[in-house]
Amino acid sequence: MSEPIVEQSVPVLRIEDLTVETSGARPAPILNGISLEIGGGETVCLVGESGSGKSVTSLATMGLLPKSALAVCQGHVLLEGEDLLRASAARLKELRATRMSMIFQEPMTALNPVLTVGYQIEEVLQAHSNLSSLEQRQLVMEMMEHVHLPDVKRIHGSYPHQLSGGQRQRIMIAMALILRPKLLIADEPTTALDVTTQRQILKLIRELQSELGTSVLFITHDMGVVADIADRVCVMHNGRIVEEGSTNAILRTPRQDYTRDLLTAVPALTPREPRNETSREAILEIVDLVKIYSTKSLFKPRRETVAAEKVNLMLRRGRTLGIVGESGSGKSTVARCAMRLIEPTSGSIRVGGQEISNLSRSALHPYRKRIQMIFQDPNRSLNPRLTVGESITEGPVNYGLSKSDAIAKAKELLELVGLPADAIDRHPHQFSGGQRQRIAIARALAMEPDVLVADEAVSALDVSVQAQVLDLLDDLQERFKVAILFITHDLRVAAQICDDVAVMQNGRVIEYGPAERVLQYPQQEYTRELLDAAPGKGWDFPNFRPLPANTPTGSFNQ
């Protein structure tokens, strides 16, 4: 962690008592008078869970709040002493990109799909400078090299969809910094990216910042990212800043309960103790599984994508096997093949010794109930039109349970997952994300499965809710001796819940073994890279201290 260069003159950004409400007949407060300050060359992290108001803060600063939905009621936003809330529209337009810039979470949607990326950077110069088009082009090329884009000539003329996620975010950064603004607002700029890409982008932001002396307001939900990038931290909760301090102080000696809870909920990177082996029964075996997607077309060469290549996995009763990997590694493909939601190209899937990969729809029916799934997004995995009870009882009724027995069972299960039994008559939208995921778990358990497949089951949840759901899964596994196939991109989650871990890359399992060995003494270069890229890996968050420096995986700032 480098020492922040804090200048004592006018702060670059100073927000005073900013209050934002929803517009309309019944205004509801979104921001309740927040104040913060960012000095020259400083990085301040706004950290908080979804709905805490961090993005609204950034949009209000840029003057980009959707006018029909949100309105600033009071406060000041001073950019180098100039009040942005009272500036004219023309003046704001002038300041954007020249004095303050913003980069967003989704670089795919944040770039215009029908214009070349080079042109989109050039537009900034067209709007704010008098350079000739040749000079503009020159400057854009330089900036693109500056953000370490390869083959700048080709990329300059490319469209966003032709670039990778990391490259798109580099384009966004180049666009934001080409006029050397004093302030960069980064709204979850790495959340949509894989960990290895995230690490590179964080490194780039840090590098450019020290070079250009830009101040950064960095918005994130991830304590790991905070630990890696922030000089100072503001913790937000329900539209308020509940705690503020230097990164070290916040991570070591948090004063507020909320901050402590946030930190305690971050899973440690050190693997758990493996569960006792109670049974040697192989409940799910995947042998030489291959899945090839091929697009057939008359006029195009046949294109084949190998999503899974000779995957071999084995899961015992009562154990948890994690499949970790970045996006496109094939981990979800394996899970969905195991569920027979998609058809494997070849290989075999055995549930309790029974081969199911080649069964017809009707022959598969009796085995379906033995393997159940929990999906990533609980908002979408429950039919919004059905009551919770209807969703949970659908499966058991399919397998011959009477309606009334199914309802009784559903009530039991709801209590088991920590929801009141009267939840049964309500609709999904009346519950929070975490509660919905509990309902989805109850639905899966209602089938009394031998195997639960959890596909990124906690990824859409806030970290505190995530911790509760992981505890619940752990509890249920203990009780029902169910085996869990846990798909995740998050090594911390994997470390907390898995007995065994398989690391996937480009459709192959490249490392597979007990979690302890894979996560602490990785054999493969790629696994090491993944571990190394995990944000905040130098910290033991729940215990408010840095990890001893001699961890086998090295340190980020080197």
Partner: protein, 313 residues
């Protein structure tokens, strides 16, 4: 891109085949003797026989279809029962007024409706938006011929600014042409404007909510550039699609408008054919207009490749 073009062009073939098959079956599947249906109740046996021979009704149905398609492909659309002239001749004689009217209509539609839609979306929820939306509901709801008669009543009868009816070829001068064509074109455009203004508004609203529009504003770009370079370009594909499919609506409007304004075009040919139950002409008109429709939509499909790089690659 070549692959995309080829695929689109080939995809148009089955559509035309379905149209042809449908038109063919329509006559054969209607209960009763096709010859009697066409000739009407007053037909003599000789007339019926003549129709049977012209349509080849003696042969088995698949043979009929094959010979019929072969004739179509060689440009033979049959002969009018009324005037005994080839249908292709009749159509080509009436083509000019309809095409010049249609082009004027499309021109008027686009220059009126697209700005209306963009403005409504930009000022979403304001009085401008409400005006545009109300105008568009009106345009959808008032039948074309009622609009035609209202326009005649106001501009031709009450104000005496324009002639009531008729058509003057553009070859006789632009002003005389416009004098007679402007009212029918406006009439025809009313529903088309309603449709496209609405679609433009909806597409622009979608696009204006996109992240890249926010990015464009965050770059400090001019609102005009944000609207037209960033938003409208992305909204162009759905707008063009509706311009294409809405073309069918315009053809329907042509039939009515031409009879209101007494314009000797394809629409009038249609009405005359209905009254005379001249089925070969109706059939020829359906095939012809459907062909034009498919062609226009094909051109629009191809233009996507220039508008959206994701299709191009």
């Amino acid at each position: 891109m070549f692959g995309y073009f080829l695929r689109r062009i080939l995809a148009a073939i089955p559509v035309m085949a379905v149209v042809a098959l449908f038109v063919f079956l329509l006559l054969r599947l209607t209960p009763g003797d096709p010859a009697a249906i066409i000739a009407g109740d007053m037909a003599t046996p000789e007339q019926l026989e003549r129709i049977r021979v012209t349509l080849g009704l003696h042969q088995p149905i698949h043979v009929q279809f094959i010979t019929w398609v072969q004739r179509l492909l060689s440009g033979d659309f049959g002969v009018s029962l009324l005037s005994n002239k080839p249908v292709t001749t009749l159509i080509s004689q009436r083509l000019e007024p309809t095409i010049s009217l249609a082009l004027l209509t499309i021109f008027l539609t686009i220059i009126i409706s697209v700005p209306m839609g963009v403005l409504a979306a930009w000022r979403h929820g304001s009085w401008i938006d409400n005006m545009v939306m109300s105008a568009s509901v009106l345009g959808f709801s008032i039948p074309v011929f009622v609009i035609g008669y209202i326009l005649i009543q106001i501009f031709a009868l009450n104000l005496g600014l324009l002639p009531v009816q008729g058509f003057t070829s553009i070859s006789k001068g632009v002003v005389p042409f416009l004098e007679r064509a402007i009212l029918p074109a406006l009439t025809l455009a009313s529903i088309y404007i309603a449709l496209i203004a609405r679609m433009t508004r909806a597409a622009m609203l979608d696009v204006l909510g996109e992240d890249y529009v926010r990015t464009a504003r965050a770059k400090g770009l001019d609102e005009k550039i944000v609207l037209f370079r960033h938003a409208l370009r992305n909204a162009a594909v759905p707008i063009l699609t509706v311009i294409g499919t809405g073309f069918a609506l315009m053809i329907s409007g042509v039939v009515v408008t031409e009879s209101v304004f007494n314009i000797p075009g394809l629409g009038r040919l249609t009405v005359d054919a209905i009254l005379a139950r001249d089925y070969p002409v109706i059939q020829g008109l359906i095939l012809f207009t459907s062909g034009i429709y498919v062609l226009i939509n094909l051109l629009i499909d191809l233009s996507y490749a220039f508008l959206d790089p994701r299709i191009r690659y």
